[in-house]
């Protein structure tokens, strides 16, 4: 058994506890009046994030009602064809990018620190930045429809429809607006992964984590590998639309199928990125109302991790009708069947838990039952369309529309509704109405099935999706009318839910109203800004059920960090697997910098849409400046003392660098995402190689061997000097450090210039053919990374000169070295591909 430290045996004196609470309240106080919007605390930003996601959800829902009104009768005249195209494109894009993904980030940012007994996530300002980026991008994309300028190409934007046959800036709004939101999603993924791995309470080993954290860990990792291919695709797409580089134009060697690959390598995992966090909510709620621990914890972890992996092997099933070889179709059909295994396993675990416990009836459970039943039906039609011969028939019909809404609404939206009812007391200390909850549930469930079940039949009868109307007498009329009636019933259900959330309600919920066993229910009603009163030592998966006097000990501050002596915001960082405390982390407080940084970075994307290049560039420079100020003033702060007593006889360091620090992990995770985007571009190069006889062309028109190899040598030298600079800093040899890093800056600039010289000197024209275009893309990608690397090197020079970095306090240079490791890999691959591959492919 464990030999963990025990909570203080005696109650701390009341006067001391009052003083501690005063100090904690001061440290964690949310800003007031107009400064309220500078808040970064997870409990505040999480609520904003959730509210914004729901506003977008209702906007997307209204668009859906417009469509159903248009399709209720044959030859409907409510919307023109073009307006209808805007409406369905925006409906899909809003629901996927502005609701389904952000809502999971929102709920996680709001609840995860509570579930982990942490005071906050490690990068609260990053969460705030992600939120502002999301709101700015979302309003931009949604607002376009009011100017009749919304995208019309469907939520997957297939070229050549969207490159050659779409006028206006709709497609650009989609590409740039959503790229910006993808950046926000990656920011949230970094925050949540580091949060799960490093901010668990002492003793919460990886086998004791709440299942929610397992799912979020998996989903965070999935975002890192799923979103970057889409960002890479967006880069190619936007270069084609703005500069006429022919990536998807067959006349000049491009291929529209490359977009489909990149989109669906993102798009299929995306479905599971939406689904898994909702299952995670189910995995938290079911044990509570079964009054028993989850059955098959290890099996649920299998399901989460297994689904996460297999979901990446399914993307081609969206492309069964594009004429791929039968063997490719067979492989992906097999993988599509296989994903049913882990998906089914978790549902059996939930059923087993319900059977093993004594089930307490409740509104959240009702939503979950409705959700699981609906999802299983959608899963079964999913297995049907995973079979290629059936898919050939059902592709692009309303059968698919029915299928995808069954899985997404059953698998994601209903569990989220359950989560709202379940977790609402944590947010503002009040319970939602059970009566309204039941009304809302039955309206939504009935409305849902009345809407979407008939769509399977209209689809099988041959109604294609995305048509703005249909002639009468083809057998679609009655089915469509039924669907439209159902849509309004469904909407009424969500309207009741929305009313329940916003209606005035003075009744405060009792503490832990559902008698749950997990840490988030430690919260007082209403919650306090500091989160947990003291950070507990964990021995069980359900500490509130299993650990004696747990609530009392936490409340009386008998565990870790019951105080904020220096009036700073602090939380405990623990080791990844066994959750041993390793650092007392000071997290930053309120600041407008994340909002300003989001405004300026958003400006780059938004102004580019309108081809306002100079304002976009200025906005970019201001954004960079803001980020640098943010980093300079708010990160890697050297503490006034080395270590601090956090209670129970434990003293923890206040500063950590390298792999022991959270910042190093954030850099590592971010660079994994960055590397994935880069690999996607390289995939593009080899994709063209497989489809063309003469790719790369022979004799090679460029970029030759000399310039790229010179560039590689210079970049690798810069990398080596950066490594040495870190050592010289450790050895406190300031002169060598500065000289070495300054030389590294010059070498890197030279390397970037030499790299660009390759295609420039050989006269590769990116508009003429896809070969020069893809070479230029790889070169520019690498050159931009060199530029970022140079800024980082210069930043470290300045930090040490300013006394903000020292031999012992070297977070900055440690992270920059990590960046340069990835930079070196990028450089080697780029040069290997553009200079080496033309030589070996002859």
């Amino acid at each position: 058994m464990s030999q963990d430290p025990q909570p203080l045996a005696h109650e701390p004196p009341l006067a001391l506890r009052r003083d501690q609470e005063k100090r904690l309240a001061h440290a964690w106080k949310a800003p007031e009046k107009w400064r309220y919007w500078s808040a970064v605390n997870n409990s505040v930003v999480g609520v904003w994030y959730t509210a914004a996601s729901f506003i977008f959800f209702h906007f997307g829902g209204l668009l859906a009602l417009l469509m159903r009104a248009q399709l209720a009768f044959p030859n409907g005249g409510l919307l023109s064809a073009d307006r209808y195209n805007q409406v369905f494109t925006l409906h899909g894009s809003v629901m996927m990018f502005l609701f389904a993904v952000p809502i999971f980030e929102a709920i996680s940012i709001m609840l995860m620190p509570q579930m982990l007994g942490a005071r906050d996530l490690p990068f609260p300002r990053l969460s705030a930045y992600g939120f502002w980026a999301f709101v700015i991008g979302g309003v931009f994309v949604c607002g376009s429809i009011f100017f009749n300028a919304a995208p019309t190409g469907g939520w997957f934007m297939y070229p050549p429809l969207t490159t050659r046959y779409s006028e206006g800036i709709g497609a650009d709004i989609w590409l740039l607006g959503l790229s910006f939101i993808e950046v926000a999603a990656i920011a949230a993924a970094v925050e949540l992964i580091v949060g799960v791995l490093k901010t668990r309470p002492p003793g919460m080993r990886i086998n004791l984590m709440p299942l929610y954290s397992w799912y979020i860990l998996v989903v965070g990792a999935m975002i890192l590998f799923a979103f970057p291919p889409l960002i890479a695709g967006d880069v190619l797409f936007e270069l084609e639309r703005m500069l006429d580089w022919p990536f998807f134009d067959p006349a000049r060697g491009g291929d529209p199928l490359l977009w489909q690959h990149l989109f669906w390598i993102f798009g299929h995992p995306e479905v599971y990125i939406i689904f898994l966090p909702s299952v995670a909510l189910v995995a938290m709620i079911i044990p509570t109302f079964s009054r028993t621990p989850i059955r098959g914890y290890g099996w649920v972890v299998l399901a989460a991790v297994g689904t996460g992996f297999i979901s990446f092997g399914l993307w081609v099933h969206h492309m069964f009708t594009t004429g791929l070889p039968g063997v490719s179709i067979g492989l992906f059909s097999a993988a599509s069947q296989a994903v049913a295994i882990p998906t089914g396993v978790q549902i059996f675990c939930f059923i087993a838990t319900l059977l093993a416990g004594r089930v307490v009836r409740s509104t959240p459970l009702l939503w979950i039952f409705g959700g699981i039943a609906t999802f299983v039906l959608g899963g079964l039609t999913g297995v049907m369309v995973a079979m290629a011969p059936f898919d050939f028939q059902a592709h692009d019909t309303y059968f698919i529309v029915g299928h995808l809404h069954y899985v997404l609404i059953g698998g994601a939206v209903f569990p989220i509704a359950a989560g709202i009812y379940y977790f609402f007391p944590i947010v503002n200390g009040k319970k939602l109405s059970d009566k309204l909850g039941r009304i809302s549930f039955w309206l939504a469930l009935i409305g849902f099935h009345v809407t979407f079940f008939p769509m399977h039949l209209t689809g099988l009868r041959g109604l294609p999706r995305r048509v703005f109307t249909y002639p009468e007498g083809l057998g679609f009329d009655a089915l469509n009318l039924v669907s439209s009636v159902g849509a309004f019933i469904l909407a009424a259900g969500f309207a009741v839910l929305a009313w329940d959330v916003i209606r005035p309600n003075k009744e405060t919920s009792p503490r832990n109203p559902w008698k749950a066993g997990t840490l988030e229910w430690l919260t007082e009603m209403p919650g306090r800004s500091w989160g947990v009163r003291s950070i507990p030592e964990i021995d069980s998966r359900y500490p509130l059920w299993d650990q004696p006097n747990f609530l009392r000990d936490v409340d009386q501050g008998r565990f870790y960090l019951p105080d904020a002596e220096e009036l700073r915001r602090e939380t405990i960082i623990t080791s990844t697997i066994d959750s041993k405390p390793i650092q007392c982390l000071r997290v930053p407080g309120p600041s407008f910098l994340p909002m300003i940084a989001a405004l300026f970075t958003g400006g780059v994307f938004i102004l580019s849409t309108f081809h306002l290049w100079w304002p976009a560039a200025i906005s970019g420079v201001l954004g960079l400046g803001t980020v640098l100020v943010w980093l300079w003033t708010g990160t890697a702060e050297i503490p006034e003392k080395d270590a601090k007593d956090v209670g129970l006889g434990l003293t923890l360091p206040l500063y950590a660098s390298g792999p022991a620090s959270v910042g190093w992990w954030a850099m590592f995770i971010t660079m994994l995402a960055d590397m994935t985007a880069f690999v996607s571009l390289v995939f593009g190069y080899f994709f063209y190689w497989t489809i063309h006889e003469d790719f790369p062309p022979h004799p090679s028109p460029g970029p030759g061997v000399f310039w790229p190899v010179l560039a590689l040598v210079l970049m690798l030298l810069s990398w080596g000097l950066t490594l040495l600079a870190k050592r010289w800093n450790r050895a406190d040899r300031g002169g060598l450090f500065h000289a070495g890093l300054a030389a590294a800056v010059l070498l890197a600039i030279g390397g970037g210039a030499a790299l660009i010289a390759g295609p420039k000197v050989t006269g590769l024209d990116p508009v003429s053919h896809v070969y020069p275009a893809i070479v230029w893309v790889l070169v520019i990608w690498t050159a931009i990374h060199v530029a970022v690397g140079v800024i980082m090197q210069a930043y470290c020079i300045a930090r040490r000169a300013a006394g903000r970095m020292s031999a012992r306090h070297d977070i900055d240079i440690a992270n920059v070295v990590l960046y340069w490791h990835f930079m070196a890999i990028t450089a080697v691959i780029t040069v290997g591909v553009i200079a080496g591959f033309p030589l070996v492919s002859r």
Partner: protein, 132 residues
């Protein structure tokens, strides 16, 4: 202080087991990608679209034997980790043993799933005989 009991670091050390969880699914992914790329490159570069697929099918059989065997090996490693503590194979305790057993068990399960998924993919060899 924190738990500092003498423990066999090699067997229960930190870090490596979380990585072990991902090994079998990565083998599955490698099997899928290799099979897919082999087929795509073969059908695009080496034979006409209605040509024979014999070479690709042989390759997929080889990938399958290797991949399936490797997942079984990882499964065995996971099983051994779980069985270290045969007297009380519980995974919900706050102890290094329990955590070790849990990670072994999860590795075993993920290996099983990956092995099945690899066999699913190998079935194309039976059903598909040409590039078309």
């Amino acid at each position: 202080m924190i738990e500092t009991q003498a423990k066999p670091v090699k067997r229960e050390g930190e870090g490596k087991q979380l990585f072990l969880l991902t090994v079998s699914p990565l083998i599955w992914a490698a099997h899928l990608l290799l099979s897919y790329i082999t087929a795509a490159v073969w059908c695009e570069k080496f034979v006409s679209p209605d040509g024979s697929l014999a070479t690709v099918r042989t390759a997929i059989v080889i990938y399958t034997v290797i991949g399936f065997g490797a997942t079984l090996l990882v499964a065995w490693i996971g099983w051994r980790m779980d069985r270290l503590d045969a007297a009380a194979p519980r995974h919900d305790r706050d102890s290094a043993r329990s955590r070790h057993g849990f990670l072994g068990f999860a590795t075993l399960l993920l290996s099983g799933m990956s092995a099945v998924a690899i066999l699913y993919q190998a079935m194309v060899v039976i059903f598909i005989r040409s590039c078309d």
